[in-house]
């Protein structure tokens, strides 16, 4: 569990990036901080691993204030994934993944073997292990970044817009991969994004932020969608434009969920026997299979 208690960060130049922020991040869940650029998301994330120290307030991990921990040691125990992967350009993929274990003194062979296994975990072919980052696609680089974040088997994984720089199709792939991973690993994930759809897709708990890291609303995706706290949240999630006001249309025998613009959002399956490709799902409750990428 990570706990922010009245955390404030004012940078030396006077920018008040975070103003009196309090939040409890539950263990083994994904908490998403979502807000527009400059709302203080990165600053919040970096205060957890002491890349940034708060001006006032405390941050505790399982009851221990991070201020009492040695920054380098703390960072080596927390996974960190960032937007442009931040891989070392002069090291191969496998060496990049093994960076922190090697720093911690894990023998080379072990570190390398572990790193190769991690490539499997994040869905990368071991064949690329000896390539350099510049020889990978953006999506592959991000996967390597995730593998590096997992290399020390951290309890906490911090992710700062990790899929922000890849194209929508690859992004959707990576998102699904992260959902699968999180299902297997159950890390305490703090995920930062400015993409509300991504937040809804990945978050167990979502904090919608305004300027200065002020929480506009905190809740599960369902809670927020059902009851936007105010106009700001409503416009942020797009509810005011009826974006998410979905209705069912029948098409070729299956029920398609369509948003107000007439764009398909998903297919309703499991309600009628044998309808649709996943008719095998023997569920009495209708559930939604999303179509390729959320309609934004």
């Amino acid at each position: 569990m990570i706990e922010f208690r009245s955390v404030t960060k004012e940078f030396p130049d006077g920018t008040l990036a975070v103003d009196d922020f309090s939040l409890t991040v539950p263990s083994h869940r994904t908490t998403v901080l979502v807000g527009s650029s400059g709302s203080g998301k990165t600053t919040l994330l970096r205060m957890i691993n002491r890349m940034v120290d708060p001006t006032s307030g405390t941050i505790e991990i399982d009851g221990v204030s991070v201020a009492s921990l040695e920054p380098v040691k703390l960072r080596r125990s927390i996974g960190y994934v960032m937007q442009n992967s931040g891989l070392l350009p002069h090291r191969t993929v496998v060496d990049n993944v093994a960076t922190v274990p090697l720093l911690r003194g894990v023998p080379r062979r072990t570190a390398r073997a572990d790193a190769l296994r991690l490539l499997d975990t994040v869905g990368l072919d071991r064949a690329i292990a000896d390539r350099y980052p510049s020889q990978l696609s953006g999506g592959q680089q991000q996967r390597v970044g995730v593998a590096r974040g997992l290399a020390v088997d951290p309890n906490i994984l911090l992710m700062d817009e990790p899929f922000g720089a890849v194209d929508p199709i690859v992004r959707a792939e990576l998102q699904q991969e992260l959902i699968r991973l999180q299902h297997e690993l159950g890390k305490t994930v703090v995920f930062v994004t400015h993409d509300i759809d991504e937040a809804f897709l990945l978050g167990d708990q979502i904090a919608i932020l305004r300027e200065g890291g002020r929480i506009a609303q905190l809740g599960t995706p369902a809670e927020i969608l059902a009851n936007p706290a105010d106009d700001f949240v409503a416009s942020f999630v797009g509810a005011d434009r009826g974006k998410r006001a979905l209705h069912v249309e029948s098409q070729d025998g299956s029920d398609v969920l369509v948003d107000s613009d007439g764009r398909p959002a998903g297919v309703l399956v499991g309600q009628r026997s044998g309808a649709g490709p996943s008719g095998g799902a023997r569920s009495d409750v209708p559930h939604i299979v999303p179509t390729e990428g959320p309609p934004r």
Binding site: M51, R75, Y80, M82, N84, G86, S134, G149
Partner: protein, 245 residues
């Protein structure tokens, strides 16, 4: 054209080889002088350059002083120091060490500054100490530019060492000045050819070395896409190369 034949004849004349004023001895003097000067300058400039590059502090002062040093005409500095500390090797050593510092310093800190900000940031985020960042990230990635700095310093020193024969009895420059004094064009030209060959050989060596030290991951694949936005590069901070004498 027979000037050149004379020069080549002079170069091939066995009489010009033995002894402390022979071609090998003079060449050795010039090389030794160049190496010692570069080592002296590096010992001062590299640590300072790394410190500036890593912390980003003191850059303004470094740019200003090294720029100022660079604008000073070499011959002026050489003769002035020679007046101060007398004829001999002391003056060239002092003057040339001073002249070799700016390019090496610039190479050292621009090398660091050219390293992608995000890379350093990520290295810190995964838990590298500042020293580890310097050792494992900034030095390997900044090495090509540092070697570039050493390369222009070398060119400058080897060239100016020739000129230093004006105030001290050493190096290949002696052939030029001796030839000038006695109107011995073969000697002037022969000495000139030697100096030029030496400079070109060193230049070639450094060009090769510079390619060799580019980390493989940087040399292969695509170049980084977003150079402007993602590095600490600022206008006017490329290692300035000024013509050696």
């Amino acid at each position: 054209m027979n000037y050149f034949t004379d020069a080549v004849a002079w170069l091939l004349d066995p009489a010009h080889y033995p002894g402390p004023t022979g071609i090998p001895a003079r060449l050795g003097e010039q090389l030794l002088f160049t190496v010692v000067t570069l080592v002296l300058a590096s010992v001062i400039a590299i640590p300072v350059g790394f410190l500036i590059g890593h912390t980003g502090r003191g850059r303004g002062i470094a740019v200003a002083t090294s720029g100022g040093l660079r604008a000073i005409p070499t011959l002026g500095l050489l003769t002035l120091v020679a007046l101060w500390i007398g004829i001999g090797l002391g003056a060239p050593y002092v003057a040339l060490t001073v002249l070799a510092i700016p390019p090496i310093l610039a190479g050292a800190y621009t090398g660091f500054e050219a390293v992608n900000r995000a890379t350093i940031d990520a290295a810190r985020a995964v838990g590298m100490t500042e020293l580890q960042i310097v050792r494992h990230v900034e030095i390997p990635l900044g090495l090509p530019l540092l070697i570039g700095g050493l390369r222009s310093a070398t060119l400058q020193v080897v060239a100016t060492a020739t000129l230093a024969a004006y105030v001290a009895d050493f190096g290949l420059g002696r052939f030029l000045f001796a030839g000038l004094k006695t109107n011995d064009y073969a000697q002037m030209l022969g000495g000139s050819i030697l100096v030029i060959l030496l400079a070109l050989v060193l230049e070639g060596l450094f060009a090769g070395l510079q390619k060799l030290v580019v980390p493989r991951g940087v040399a292969v694949g695509r170049p980084p896409v977003d150079r402007k936005a993602s590095t600490r590069r600022r206008p006017g901070m490329e290692p300035a190369i000024t013509k050696g004498i």
